[in-house]
Symmetry: C2
Subunit: 309 residues, 2 copies
């Protein structure tokens, strides 16, 4: 069951209260695919400019299960760049700059070899572009989209159209409220279910997430860690771990069964939670690059023990 992600690759500059990392590899599709690769193959669709550092390509190559055929390097364009500074609590952050560069141009081309992708994650971008990606994946079986306040504000009709064509939506508390006008996250998510998706994941960062599914509700705490070096990419790694786990679960069942059932999604969210807990232990993909699957499984078991009653 092939998994594909559409999103960004970027050059990040991150300031935390204790350290600064300049021009490091970042972007939603990058964090997503690195996280998902611990569960199985993942196809990356993103566009970079010709300024993309060679070291970034080398880093991605080290993740053997990331298929980078869909990483388009566009001549004459510049790579998306972002700079941010975290507050003392390592939760809030200020954006220092956002150089859209290639993100303001045409979206990346999806390789024809990706057309049979069945699990699709639409990273955060204009919902019209997300909708456009869908037509590249005619064999899609499970689609999850990410979104943000900007699109809810400026492209709500397109987002509402997209929601009719996805199985799941991931967004944060404030975005769920913005989209529905409902303050309570469970109430807001239920309203979103009525817009089309079968499940909504309300992301709460260091407080975990809430899953509101047509067949049930679950709340998951984050993995309680002390070792937070850089929270950037946690949400995308969370999504990557979740989708990677969903796709792997489908493979394990020979493509039979319900890939988006409440129980399967809930379990996948734990894999997402645990994978993200490694991402934040370093800048960029540094920690994931050193991680091995047994470490992930051990922390999954630890998390399960923490929440078992």
């Amino acid at each position: 069951m092939s998994l594909v992600v559409t999103g960004t690759i970027g050059i990040d500059t991150v300031h935390t209260p204790t350290a600064t990392a300049e021009r490091i590899l970042g972007g939603s599709a990058v964090y997503f695919s690195a996280a998902a690769s611990f569960f199985g193959p993942v196809r990356l669709v993103a566009a970079a400019g010709e300024d993309l550092p060679d070291a970034f390509r080398a880093t991605l190559k080290n993740f053997a299960k990331i298929d980078t055929q869909g990483l388009e390097v566009r001549k004459g364009s510049k790579t998306f760049a972002w700079g941010g500074k975290y507050h003392e609590n390592m939760v809030q952050r200020d954006t220092l700059f956002t150089d859209l560069n290639i993100l303001a141009e045409a979206p990346p081309t999806v390789p024809g070899s990706y057309a049979d992708s069945e699990f699709v994650f639409l990273g955060n971008t204009h919902p019209g572009i997300q909708q456009g990606f869908l037509s590249s994946f005619p064999k899609r079986k499970l689609v999850v989209a990410d979104t943000m306040d900007l699109w809810i504000n400026i492209a709500k009709p397109e987002l509402l159209l997209l929601l009719k064509n996805v199985d799941g939506l991931a967004l944060n508390n404030d975005e769920a409220e913005l989209l529905t006008g409902k303050k309570n996250p469970v109430t807001a998510a239920k309203h979103i279910l009525a817009m089309g998706p079968r499940f909504v994941v309300v992301k709460k960062g260091e407080h975990g997430c809430i899953l509101v599914h047509k067949d049930g509700i679950a709340a998951l705490p984050a993995y309680p860690t002390e070792n937070v070096i850089d929270p950037t990419g946690a949400g995308d790694s969370f999504a990557g771990g979740m989708m990677g786990s969903l796709a792997a679960s489908a493979v394990a069942h020979n493509g039979k069964g319900d890939f988006g059932s409440f129980d399967v999604v809930r379990r996948a969210l734990v894999y997402g939670t645990v994978t993200a807990s490694f991402t934040v232990e370093s800048f960029s993909l540094d920690r994931l690059a050193k991680m091995h699957r047994p470490e992930l499984d051990a922390r999954y078991a630890e998390y399960a023990a923490m929440t078992r009653l």
Copy 2:
């Protein structure tokens, strides 16, 4: 295994975005003991003025397992009164007024018949007063204290002394940081363990709690509810459910075993979480007054199913 709580009884006025309730029964010892009473007997120690409405006493009497012998009604004094207004999100609130009244006088007298209490919860008040209560319970086996930013700021030496004499401390994220200077809640809680307690419960309100125990760490989400009428008393009900469950568990084991072990405390925190989820479904004790133990157990089972992997 007898349980006692020292705390407040108050006359609350609560404004929510959709309703107002004036001069209703509130206070930490009140919410605590109502919650704890679903698990077994609980002894209440609090002081009221002679203006305490008869209806409040009648409400407490309806909770058959609350022993109100320690509810001191002091002639010539006025009952503590508090008014607050919740924001649209039902999380933040502004305090409209705090009439300390009797809280500025001598603390309540502990009845001699309570002297054999073994489980002790010290509701939030000056840590010197909390320390004083301890001497009334020479047979204490497990003591948990609540505190707040005010005491950390103005009575830190007394609080540090108290911490050497308690098994557990409950406080919120910001308070944990204020006490230790550590932003990360797990790191902060570990520093508090070094001050004396065997476990620390970091309360995160609608995001649940983190237990940092000498023998392990656990994170628990709140029960994801849509039905929040008034959050007042949620934290005290949480503590009441937790301590009630701990005391009941000790009774069930004939007083043998470790009452404060990681597994026992973690399970008790779930009972606290679930009990608090009922409290917020109404003003004052209205919902708890109508609740029956099977409802509580059903929601416990539902919560367990939500978090089971």
